[in-house]
Amino acid sequence: MSFDAPAMDYAGLSPVIALTTGLVVIVLASVFDSVKRFGPFLALLTFAVTAGCLIWQWSADIDLVSGSLRLDGLAATLSILVVIAAAVSVLLAIGDPSETQAGRSDWLALLTGSVLGMVILAQATSMLTFFVGLELLSIPLYALCGTNLRRRESLESGLKYLIVGSVGSATLLYGLAMIYGASGATGFQAISDGLQAGDGMLSDSLTLVGVGLVAVGLAFKVSIAPFHQWTPDVYQGAPTPVTAFMAVATKAAAFAVFIRFFLVALGPLADQWDVMLAALAALSIVVGNVGALAQTSLKRMLGYSGIAQAGYMLAGIVTATQAGVDALVFYLAAYVAMNVGAFAVVVARERQTGFSDDISTLRGLGREKPLLAWPLTISMLALAGLPPTVGFIGKLYLIEALVDDDWTWLAVMIAIGTMISLGYYLRVVATVWMSPAEESEAAAASIDTAALPPQIAGAQADPFTDSRADRRWYLVAPALIAMAAALFFGVIPQPLVDFAQHAGNALSVWIS
């Protein structure tokens, strides 16, 4: 009996392999104390190798594992974004209480696992890999959210995320089952063929309910209203490095599969679902923006802002055109730069002020700590979509795609949402630059004493506060690089446009 080994394209699988290897090494390293402290370097190395593999396979356009995965432009671009976000959060986690309490290697292993899930998700072209990737992404994240064991909020957010997330997963699964039933297939291309071949399948209630449930599951992952409610709570409760990772990477990976599933598998049904997605997008834009208005917690505000931003991005899928996908990917890339800048500053500021992410901790920042103030300012301007930042070009791209496909009303919604969003983004800028610093000086002074080594300041001092956090390279460098990127791509956006179009071109077979 001859064994017919399936053909494996190891080059195509190299990113997944690199991540898996890295994961194993990190887990093993936790056994040896002497290697333990190099955990972050191992993780960074893993991500660097993964990124290297992705770049190596940049122009690949191949099906892998008998059509369960597909490494193409879309997968490559979004995986790169995920890896970048992961690398940044490794840096941000250095010295973070969550990392220390959970055990550095375990924390990093969870992170790497989640990244692996995301990379798989970005490549998924079958329901199986879709579901596996999604769960591989989510489950470590649930755990990561709860890693700051000392803080009640951290545990609360982990459990909340887990429960609500599982409801979402179950809904998604149920929807997948229905689509499977309707199309008789699990591969995306096969689903599409099945739906087109089947008699009346395109408007069958089974199919459509399945589409709806899948949409709910995905909307949940990318935090689209009304499935958004976990977002602010989890963003606020989770350790900030985790939030930073989650905010950016989850969106990137989930949008990758969102694009693929809806445009490839459900492409024939585009006329059925576009209005629903448009309505969800509009709702998110409104809910996210108004919800963020009066928040005092920065992370919570960024959570709501994430809901709104997800709404903008979803608009790219609504168009079901290549331009829409390009715009979405462009916006995601921009979103990475904008959010990394913001979260890096939040992390630094948290460490300085005894883990408060209240907006008032930013008072007088512009005068005293320009290295934190500028990245935060540029991030906020970019999120608000003001020139000369990449945020403006991102919105421009989205609006252009929308108007081009006759979705002008949705473009106007984006415009309206942006106006509302100024109310909270600029509040941060105003606090940084336009509020007197006296109070924050006093606050900083009191914290500085608290931040002294325990033998002087007493037992109650928090061992994780770090009065010099604004000068730690691993916090400041990501912030500055993100700021530079936000400005650079705001002035010279073409490289990023090419990047985004690389993703869009991968789908050119399926969409116009």
Partner: protein, 99 residues
């Protein structure tokens, strides 16, 4: 027997699970209910698989079972962590984060 009955059963399971999530306060019970919801999906997959006569659905179900187990493990881990910090095991008490 028609496939409808299987689907109705799975829908019932899904509903029961959802209602459980809605009404129960103990996180452990809620985890159980989540299992129910996932099982509902699994049942539907199985039914369709049989109806369609291909194996994809059944493979899918296997994976779903594994995933469900993982989910519960992480969930229980968090519950234990809360218990060790002597936090109430009641989802209604988990409202530090809101607004």
């Amino acid at each position: 027997m028609d496939i409808e009955w299987y689907l109705i059963l799975s829908a019932l399971l899904f509903t029961v699970g959802f209602i459980g999530v809605l009404v129960r306060r103990n996180p452990v019970v809620i985890l159980l209910c989540l299992e129910l919801m996932l099982s509902a999906g699994a049942l539907a997959l199985l039914a369709f698989s049989r109806m369609l006569g291909n194996q994809d659905g059944q493979v899918f179900v296997l994976i779903v079972l594994v995933v469900a187990a993982c989910e519960v493990v992480v969930g229980l881990g968090l519950v234990v962590a809360m218990y060790r910090r002597r936090l109430p095991l009641d989802v209604d008490e988990m409202k530090e984060l809101k607004g």
